[in-house]
Symmetry: C2
DNA sequence: TAAAGAAACTTGTCACTGTCAAGATTGAAT
DNA sequence: ATTCAATCTTGACAGTGACAAGTTTCTTTA
């Protein structure tokens, strides 16, 4: 196994692979993200992640303190992506009601497109919420929701209540969807209803 | 460590513990439930569960195929409890609106009172959804939500849509709450708002 | 330019995990 | 009384996260 110590008499500089990876942190994040989508958060293995990045099993420790550290870094990426998706869904020309439909669709599309990342964002025990960058990233994404709720705040209800309502409406569906409770046999609801659901909720908020 | 093999010359029949536990399945379920609430689904260990029940590490395999089997059995208990809680919240004398408030409160109370069980119910990858008993139990709990949605079905909207709405409203809040996203610094919403939230959602459904 | 020190990565090891196989003990059926 | 199945134990195996200590490279300093 110690063939590394055996010097290669032929290729001297060609370098099979440099001892220093260059950007291992990035590589680990990408490998980790892929592994997460494939195996889920359990079934995830730091060693497998390291192997996929082409380094030894102990290498990740130099870039992330431990598994929680890696998951936290991945969640930061996730919150950034999520916030971006919500920001891209914003369009000043839309009516509040139309904006709800558009943003909710983006919310649900993200949850469906990145199920593992989405779950990770709300998997409290796996993340280090002491981490400031994580708090920043999540707060920034949360700001998008606050803005989305803004037009409905002139209804007499306290803003926090409106925000919670605007948030929990898509979040409940997203989570139920990822939990496999929608489109199942027991539930009569299939994916085709989702667009109608968006319309209905928007209408509901409009009449608030 | 091997003091088990040392025979005790004094007490012969008093039986430290019989070879057959009697109801190990039950004991494992209770130990597992306690362990789950303490450590969470990760951090959970089959061996620790066995030890807490006072048996060897391989004993659980004779009652549950594997870890997924134990989790599935626990989820069945959870769905039963959950369905029961929702059933107890039902009261024919209440108006539909009042019924929503009461049932939603039960929903959220359950999620808060049994956070680990609640999470497990919706942790698809950890459960064996081939298991018929699990499907039955979850379907039965789901029936409670269908009944809860019934009074609002005469609004022209398709029943599945109403059901999804009635379900996702409390579920979104419950999940956000367990994810630690409510009552946090970034969120302006604290627990005292919850009662107001229930009132608001009930009113919303009433105006549907 | 040389030496020192820090950063990046490796190997080796530890206790612990889930699962399987094989043996020991008990209760039930014949 | 004997057989048989169910229940539980011990032992083993490969895989895990984490830590310690060593090796290699880059960077800084003098």
């Amino acid at each position: 196994m110690n063939r590394k110590t055996r010097h290669n008499p032929e290729q001297h500089p060609p370098a099979k692979r440099p001892y220093h990876h260059g950007d291992l942190r990035r590589a680990l994040l990408e490998a980790g993200r892929a592994l997460l989508e494939e195996k889920g958060a359990d079934g995830f293995s730091l060693r497998a992640c390291a192997q996929r990045a082409g380094v030894s099993h102990a290498a990740p420790a130099h870039h992330f303190k431990d598994m929680k550290g890696l998951f936290t870094a991945l969640a930061i990426e996730a919150f950034d992506l999520f916030g971006e998706a919500l920001a891209n869904a914003r369009d000043g020309r839309l009516t509040p009601k139309q904006q709800i439909v558009t943003s909710y669709r983006a919310y649900l599309d993200f949850a469906r497109g990145h199920p593992a990342l989405f779950k990770l964002m709300f998997d409290a025990l796996r993340l280090d919420w002491q981490d400031e960058i994580l708090n920043e990233a999540s707060k920034k994404a949360y700001q998008q929701l606050i803005m989305l709720a803004k037009p409905f705040e002139d209804s007499g209800k306290p803003p926090p209540l409106i925000q919670l309502l605007v948030w929990s409406l898509p979040h409940g569906v997203a989570h139920l969807q990822l939990a496999g409770q929608i489109g199942h046999s027991k539930s009569l609801i299939s994916d085709e209803w989702l667009e109608d659901y968006l319309e209905m909720t928007a209408e509901l908020l409009d009449r608030l």
